[in-house]
């Protein structure tokens, strides 16, 4: 996957009388593709190791390169090319053709003729190749043979269903699970005609990537509970798009019919997601059709929300915002880059403030400074770089849960044999997760809060020596650890290693680029830089306010204290914020709340004006991946009543300017916003320096809180709380598919073996915001550390358990 074309040895061979030269070790089946011959195949997949399981790709090899031929046809998917080799495929060789027809006949002996009800019918390689390379008649059924049948379907997992009689035993699914995902919970069992895909009795097929097995199944043996019998491939319309669930920017294909998404498949983008996507990207699309979806604007009148027309809602929102006094903007992390730009411009141009923040999660002023100094406009690391790096350091990042494509890349890189071995993965984490084991990674065991010290210590450590071929990936969770992001930046600066910031949400990086931060303007222009302000101000025709604004916690605090009156809230879930209770109270206290939301939430219930926004399927946009790679996509549906955030903000800004406040945004469509962003371009002046701009920021409550909560004093019975969000959890974008939710991992609390022995299999954790009872599991943690999933029970850790960086007590769970 390296972009640099390597100089390789070429091997010359003859296929069907055509001489060609291909790189050494190419398989004959791929070499044949280059001369335009498609050898039929089932088990062969370019990203999986060759296995030769289905035998469908038999070719005749009269000369193996040594002057002697193979006496029998050979499987071309396992046969590497050799100099002087002569291969005759079914196109020229009757021997190969007859062999392939014979194999096809064998495969079809037990394959049921239920193509009309099979979900694969119409896009089925077996169907197609039976037509192109099979016999017209079956000798088996003509002589009264009875096909082997099984009761069907059986559940491999809650989501993946198996029709055993359809399986042609190509082992693609088992090989994917073993080689790519590292979850070998399915395997071929039994022998002969009874061979089938089996599961372990005690280990469920709980893989975050299980949906890929359905997509690569060459027959209809694997189907998803979600899509089974919902439509046929020939009346689906496919639109390429980009997944909206994480910052990986996976290419997907959205198959839809009559204005409804039926399924999503992985797109093929070798530079980003190869041919895989996570189950979240595959099955998480029902949220847009949930019954609580907002479909019309609402305004509050006499304490009740009532439906309103768009122009009325724009006017009421504008009047309310103009009277509210100071207004903050919270965008949430799911906006597209264009929408983020609109929020950014709306705050500066229409509201005249820098009080804007996209971070609806625990954050810090240090993080804002880090983003301005080290992240924005930087494109130093790509997926390909992960593969070529000697060492990849993960800090505050659990790729399997938080960035599935990074996990697959790192697993691929780490597992690769060859000179010098694969990439070495080093994780700074409280314990060695299953994901880390699958990446063959090494753990630097670190209690939560000590990440800064661990990062700083890495450079001196002989074992995990970091040099300039290394890559440091920092997750967004590091923001809660004071000094950790600076330590990571420092480590990168000292060693020359490349640094990348991996957020969880798809819109985060785009929001950084678009300036949805109190200290950044679009294109990475620092607010503190007068030249940058003039640059932006000249484009926009306004004077950009010169003081850096409040961050999200600052806005919440200012709303609570009355310094700010109004707030414009995008897709923010109060339970994700640093202090959910404070956020809710602030929304109550605010004199005017404008909510732009997809579905009814606590924010819309508290809002004075509610605008429905388009889900990503209804609008064009761009997501920026963690690498900084823009991933533009077009709208799947055109629904006139479903408007993107930027159109709504433009409407409010126009009404505001009619009231004499600010100026209109100057664009109304995604295309116009894109053009304006293009025109403005990136900042070419001096970028902010980490540490320098830190002091320019107003102090927010988080840093103090996190600072106070740093684990300096270890009291008996008090545990430091380590937590992150699992991939499949209670997130609101994952609503609507029960089978998918059921494939998630059960929430458990992980304790050190000593603590586990002391507290038993069920524990009750009590923090400053509540307590929760969970089953416990022993893991190699420090004795005073406990891990829980962040959003898999109740309203999540921040709402129900403890504030970031605080400590919890553990008691024996009573009620189980």
């Amino acid at each position: 996957m390296t972009t640099v074309p390597e100089k390789t040895d070429l091997v010359t061979l003859t296929i069907d009388g055509v001489q060609l030269s291909v790189p050494k070790d190419t398989l004959v089946i791929r070499a044949a593709e280059q001369v335009g011959v498609q050898v039929p195949r089932f088990c062969d997949h370019p990203l999986l190791a060759p296995v030769g399981a289905c035998r469908q790709c038999l070719v005749d090899v009269p000369d193996a390169g040594n002057g002697r031929g193979f006496p029998k046809p050979q499987a071309s998917c396992t046969l590497p090319v050799a100099e002087g080799m002569v291969v005759n495929t079914q196109a020229t060789s009757p021997v190969a053709d007859k062999a392939q027809q014979g194999i096809m006949e064998f495969l079809l002996i037990n394959h049921p003729l239920d193509c009309p009800v099979c979900d694969k019918g119409g896009e089925c390689p077996l169907q197609n190749q039976a037509m192109s390379n099979g016999r017209a008649d079956s000798r088996f059924s003509a002589r009264g043979g009875v096909k082997r049948t099984y009761p069907k379907p059986i559940n491999i997992s809650a989501q993946v269903l198996l029709d055993r009689e359809r399986c042609v035993l190509c082992a693609r699914c088992t090989r994917f699970s073993e080689q790519i995902a590292g979850d070998p919970f399915i395997a071929l069992v039994e022998r002969g005609a009874l061979q089938q895909v089996g599961i372990y009795e005690r280990e469920p097929f709980e893989s975050y990537f299980s949906g890929n097995t359905i997509q690569i199944c060459p027959v209809g043996a694997l189907t998803s509970a979600d899509y089974r019998f919902r439509s046929r491939p020939f009346d689906l319309v496919s639109t390429p798009s980009v997944a909206e669930h994480d910052a990986c920017g996976s290419a997907i294909r959205i198959d839809h019919r009559r204005g409804k998404v039926m399924r999503r498949l992985a797109g093929n983008d070798p530079e980003v997601n190869e041919e895989w996507i996570t189950d979240k990207d595959r099955f998480g699309f029902h949220y847009a059709t949930e019954p609580d979806r907002l479909t019309y604007p609402q305004i509050r009148e006499d304490g009740e929300l009532r439906p309103a027309s768009w122009p009325e809602a724009f006017a009421v929102a504008a009047r309310g915002l103009s009277e509210a006094g100071g207004t903050g903007v919270l965008t949430g992390g799911r906006v597209t880059a264009e929408d983020a730009y609109a929020y950014s411009k709306f705050a500066r141009v229409a509201l005249g403030t820098n009080d804007i923040d996209f971070r609806s999660r625990p954050h810090s002023a240090e993080e804002a400074a880090f983003l301005a100094a080290e992240v924005v406009l930087r494109r130093t690391v790509t997926y390909a770089d992960l593969e070529s790096a000697s060492t990849v350091v993960l800090a505050g990042l659990e790729p399997e849960d938080e960035a599935g494509m990074i996990f697959l890349r790192l697993r691929k890189a780490a597992g690769r044999a060859g000179s010098g071995g694969g990439t070495r993965v080093v994780s700074i984490a409280p314990y060695a997760s299953r994901g880390l084991a699958k990446m063959h990674g090494q753990l630097v065991r670190t209690a939560p809060g000590d990440e800064a010290a661990a990062l700083a210590a890495l450079v001196a450590q002989g074992e995990f020596g970091i040099d300039k071929t290394a890559v440091i990936l920092v997750g967004e969770r590091l923001a809660t650890v004071p000094g950790a992001l600076s330590a990571a930046a420092g480590l990168a600066a000292r060693t020359g290693a490349r640094l990348a910031w991996v957020p969880r949400r798809a819109g985060d990086r785009g929001a950084v680029e678009a300036g949805c931060l109190p200290n950044l303007l679009p294109g990475g222009r620092p607010v503190a830089d007068a030249g940058a302000r003039v640059d932006v101000g000249a484009d926009w025709g306004v004077d950009v306010p010169e003081t850096p604004g409040r961050d999200a916690d600052g806005i919440i605090a200012a709303l609570g204290s009355g310094e700010l009156g109004g707030v414009v809230v995008g897709g923010v879930d109060p339970d994700d914020t640093t202090d959910p209770a404070a956020t809710r109270a602030a929304l109550e206290a605010a004199s005017f709340v404008v909510a732009l939301e997809l579905r009814e939430t606590d924010v819309t219930r508290a809002a004075d004006v509610v605008f429905p926004v388009a889900p990503v399927s209804d609008k064009a946009g761009t997501f920026v991946t963690w690498e900084g790679r823009p991933r533009p996509f077009e709208a799947v549906f055109s629904s006139p009543s479903s408007l993107p955030d930027l159109r709504i903000l433009a409407g409010i800004a126009e009404e505001l300017s009619a009231l004499g406040v600010g100026r209109p945004l100057g664009f109304r469509t995604v295309a116009e916003a894109r053009a304006e962003m293009e025109e403005m371009g990136p900042w070419d002046g001096e970028r902010a320096v980490l540490g320098g701009s830190e002091t320019a920021l107003r102090p927010s409550s988080t840093t103090e809180e996190a600072g106070a909560g740093a684990p300096s004093s270890t009291t008996e019975g008090h545990f430091a709380l380590a937590t992150w969000k699992l991939m499949i959890d209670n997130g609101s974008l994952q609503d609507g598919d029960k089978a998918y939710r059921a494939t998630g991992r059960a929430p458990v609390a992980r304790l050190s073996p000593t603590a586990y022995d002391a507290h038993g299999p069920t524990v009750t954790l009590t923090g400053d915001r509540g307590s929760v009872t969970l089953p416990a599991e022993p893991a190699e943690l420090d004795d005073d550390v406990v891990w829980v999933p962040a959003n898999s029970f109740g309203n999540g850790v921040l709402a129900d358990l403890a504030s970031p960086g605080s400590r919890v007590t553990i008691a024996k769970g009573a009620d189980q």
Binding site: D114, P116, V117, G121, G122, K152, P153, R228, F229, R230, S231, R232, F234, D235, R258
Partner: protein
């Protein structure tokens, strides 16, 4: 120029031919009338006339349609819309509408588009879809011309039971398809 032309006509042309023309009229008065008094008198169509579609049932009342959408795929006018769904045998599910795993939950034919070509009938793998001889397919609104599954399903004949209900004629769909349910039950086709 007109003068010489009329003079050139023969006596036969001038006097006999007009009378002979009326002869045709006169003779026809004694022939059987071909005019059909539609809609007051309705004539049977040819036996294999392509009329309105019908969704057939098995002798126990289960639907033959398996929701495979092959009719929709075959349709050159894009007049058919089908949505499949899963049959369930357990109590809490939707129930069983057809033998086998899948049935057509939604079945619509748009007679504004249908050209009655019969390709859907050829495509149907279970003979669920056939055509009747009914040709009176006119209505006053466009919406009424989209026939739903309830409009297209064959009537329940004696011995049939309104689905959902379990398979009565065999243990699995194979016994339905192979016709193993005995000679006593006749085909449900019309």
């Amino acid at each position: 120029m007109a003068q010489p032309k009329s003079q050139s006509r023969s006596m036969k042309e001038q006097f006999w031919d007009p009378v002979a023309g009326f002869g045709v009229t006169f003779r026809t008065m004694f022939k059987k009338v071909v005019t059909e008094q539609y809609p007051f008198e309705k004539q049977p169509t040819a036996p294999r006339f392509h009329g309105r579609h019908q969704l057939n049932r098995w002798p126990d009342g289960l639907e033959k349609c398996i929701g495979c959408e092959l009719c929709a795929w075959a349709c050159p006018a894009d007049a058919i819309y089908v949505e499949g769904a899963t049959n369930t045998d357990d109590a809490d599910g939707e129930g069983r509408y057809s033998p086998g795993e899948r049935y057509g939950r939604v079945y619509q034919i748009n007679y504004l588009r249908c050209i009655l070509c019969g390709l859907c009938i050829e495509a149907c793998p279970t003979r669920a879809l056939t055509m009747t001889n009914e040709y009176e397919l006119a209505d006053t609104t466009r919406a009424d011309l989209i026939y739903e599954k309830s409009d297209l399903l064959a009537p329940l004949l004696p011995g049939m039971e309104q689905p959902p209900h379990p398979m009565r004629l065999g243990d699995d769909e194979g016994s339905y398809y192979r016709g193993e349910y005995g000679a006593s039950a006749k085909e449900g086709d019309s």
